[in-house]
């Protein structure tokens, strides 16, 4: 048996057996959904329906129904796109990077975070598609032989790199997620008694057997996929940042963008994981699998990435002054003190100042405070993208075309709608899919389960006396 030092806190609390893990994770799937689930999905469904209505109106009428004008030709659409892609970064980061670093605490959050990733990337992908205006020619982004003199798509353009990056990221994340789900679906298949559920999970589990060779392959496939997904995570948001960084617009034209966007993405992704998991652990009574220690680890990632983002903001300001380019300097001066000062100030407060509060152990181990902060960070990161996109272009070189962006009800409706669609998908996931990786949790039970850790080291009752969890 693998023993672990006592400086490592147990990851699974309570007196758990293998059977308990199965029971605890599958219970919400087997039992009836609580009333709150129906209320939540109703609210999310209404929002989603409203959003879909707005999208249909947009497609039927044209992009003119958005608040865009000839100076600000990118605003909420691309802000929302980058915001959702950023959120979609935590899942694969948790499952890939933390797997390579052998971080066992990831098992408490990886399944739900991967689901979040997939739904968030779906929402992200929606925005570039609808901002084309003509959704039905969306396939033009692929290099297909065509009747226009065989004009190919421009492979020198970061917008096309984005097509490849986002679609690769989405499909690889989906595969990664599903390969992990197969053994857990098999567990559900072998347990449920209702004939319809049994048939559905039988199809979903792909006939998983769980023999030694299959597990041998499973572990290698997870490792290699993690190895492939790790550079993928970093490349995707770097490429998203190239959309701006390779342009010559002052405020966008910055070499710091790739690392800055990647850490911003991880920052916002972890915040969204906190928002979702803090609710999920309570609603599904998973407090013994996802406790204060896990929340603290995530908050530490938030401090690190938040600080990187803060340094990047300040570096940008410094370089704009130090470069001596007056256009560059004006772009940043205008960003901080111009008509959009309020957006810049909210970004700075939410993303740079507030995460520093997590240096206090009391705050980073407080669940209420973590939940509150996760919402603040999500708002802050939306503002970051808005600030980068809109404040850089709303005052262009000709002062007569300076303008201010006002979102219309369609802008707001579509953004709210994507939040609705996201939550509908997430609620369905949490109801019918195992929200924790059952098989993988069983592999860490003996090394990180409280009852097993009590058999050596500090011995019985030691962990209960540690008031932190």
């Amino acid at each position: 048996m693998h023993k672990e030092a006592d400086i490592r806190k147990p990851l699974i609390l309570g007196d758990k057996t293998y059977r308990d893990i199965t029971d605890d994770v599958i219970r919400p799937i087997e039992s009836k959904a609580p009333r709150t689930w129906y209320i939540l999905i109703l609210i999310a469904g209404v929002l989603a329906a409203w959003g879909i209505g707005c999208i249909i109106y947009l497609l039927g009428t044209g992009v003119g129904v958005w608040g865009l004008n000839k100076t600000v030709e990118w605003a909420w659409d691309i802000t929302n796109f980058v915001w959702w892609v950023g959120i979609g970064h935590a899942g694969t980061l948790i499952s890939a990077v933390l797997l390579l670093f052998r971080q066992k605490w990831r098992f408490a959050i990886n399944r739900a975070a991967e689901a979040m990733t997939i739904f968030a990337v779906m929402m992200a992908g929606l925005f570039p598609l609808i901002h084309m205006g003509r959704l039905w020619v969306g396939y033009w982004v692929f290099p297909l032989p065509n009747q226009f003199g065989s004009m190919w798509v421009n492979f020198n353009s970061p917008l096309l790199w984005d097509v490849f990056a986002i679609s690769t990221y989405f499909s690889v994340s989906l595969v990664f997620w599903y390969i992990g789900l197969i053994p857990d679906f098999a567990t559900i298949r072998d347990r449920v008694t209702k004939p319809l559920a049994k048939r559905v999970y039988r199809v979903l589990s792909f006939g998983w057997t769980g023999n030694a060779k299959a597990w041998n392959r499973f572990e290698l496939v997870s490792l290699v996929l993690a190895g492939l997904a790790t550079p993928l995570v970093f490349s995707v948001h770097s490429i998203v940042s190239f959309d701006f960084a390779t342009s010559i617009v002052p405020g966008w034209h910055t070499t710091i963008f790739p690392p800055y966007f990647v850490s911003g993405a991880v920052f916002s992704g972890f915040a969204m994981v906190q928002t979702l998991m803090l609710i999920l652990r309570k609603a599904y009574k998973l407090e013994e699998y996802l406790h204060v220690k896990h929340i603290e680890y995530m908050n530490i990632v938030i401090i690190v990435t938040g600080s990187i983002v803060g340094v990047a903001y300040i570096t940008e300001l410094f370089v704009s002054w130090y470069s001596g380019v007056e256009y560059e300097a004006y772009a940043f001066l205008n960003r901080a003190t111009g008509p959009y000062w309020w957006a810049y100030a909210s970004m700075m407060t939410c993303n740079v100042i507030s995460p520093q509060l997590f240096w206090f152990k009391k705050l980073r181990t407080s669940l209420m405070f973590s939940f509150f902060m996760s919402i603040i960070i999500n708002i802050g990161m939306w503002f970051e993208r808005f600030v980068i996109i809109v404040t850089s272009i709303h005052r262009d070189y000709v002062p007569s075309s300076w303008t201010y962006f006002h979102p219309t009800w369609v802008d707001i409706g579509i953004f709210m709608g994507t939040i609705g669609i996201f939550f509908v998908l997430y609620l369905l996931f949490s109801r019918y899919f195992p929200v924790l990786p059952i098989a993988e949790l069983k592999t860490i039970l003996k090394s990180s389960g409280k009852n097993y850790k009590e058999n050596y080291g500090h011995g019985k009752d030691y962990w209960d006396s540690q008031s932190e969890h």
Partner: protein, 182 residues
């Protein structure tokens, strides 16, 4: 007419992975051949004991990745250099090598795409796991909290089934079943 082969199989069930691992070691030391082990999660260290070779899926993934890089290189050379060279922002469009910096992102993405999907498809096919396939684990509890060793009679000419059963009983088995497979 071919004779229908009948084979006897023993399924020995354990409640704990470490007990199973020790049991398997003891059996293998006696010269018993274990056909397979079914478990709800990977049992670390079982593979060398029962003779499961390391999988070659990693090599496959590498080859799929290499295929992806090459396809991307061939495709981009054709689209951007041979078929329709485009002068975009003065970026050189005369040879693949000159234009390569702006092709790197797509080379990379396509490599990952092919490696990941190629490996995933191979993995599903090799495991015989596809939508709608029937489950083949001997007992539904092996995906929950039970661990099962499978021993085939035909693979063990040295010992009779009785001897094997006696050996198994000493290793902490909780349930044993003999099945005839046609």
């Amino acid at each position: 007419m071919k004779e229908i082969m009948e084979e006897k199989v023993i399924y020995a069930m354990y409640e704990d992975d470490d007990v199973l691992l020790n049991g398997a070691k003891a059996l293998v030391a006696e010269g018993v051949h274990i056909s397979d082990v079914y478990s709800p999660m990977p049992i670390h260290g079982i593979d060398p004991v029962i003779g499961v070779e390391p999988t070659r899926l990693g090599i496959a993934a590498f080859l799929y990745g290499l295929t992806g890089t090459m396809l991307a290189a061939i495709g981009l050379r054709y689209f951007m250099i041979t078929d329709w060279p485009m002068n975009i922002g003065g970026k050189p469009s005369f040879s693949l090598l000159e234009n390569i910096p702006s092709f790197i992102p797509i080379f990379f993405e396509f490599t990952v795409l092919c490696a990941a999907h190629g490996m995933a498809i191979t993995y599903l096919l090799r495991n015989k796991t596809l939508p709608g396939m029937p489950p083949r684990n001997p007992d539904p509890r092996t995906t929950d909290d039970k661990f099962v060793i499978e021993i085939n009679e035909s693979e063990n000419s040295k010992h009779s089934l009785k001897e094997i059963t006696a050996m198994l009983k000493k290793t902490g088995v909780v349930e044993m079943e003999e099945k005839v497979i046609k």
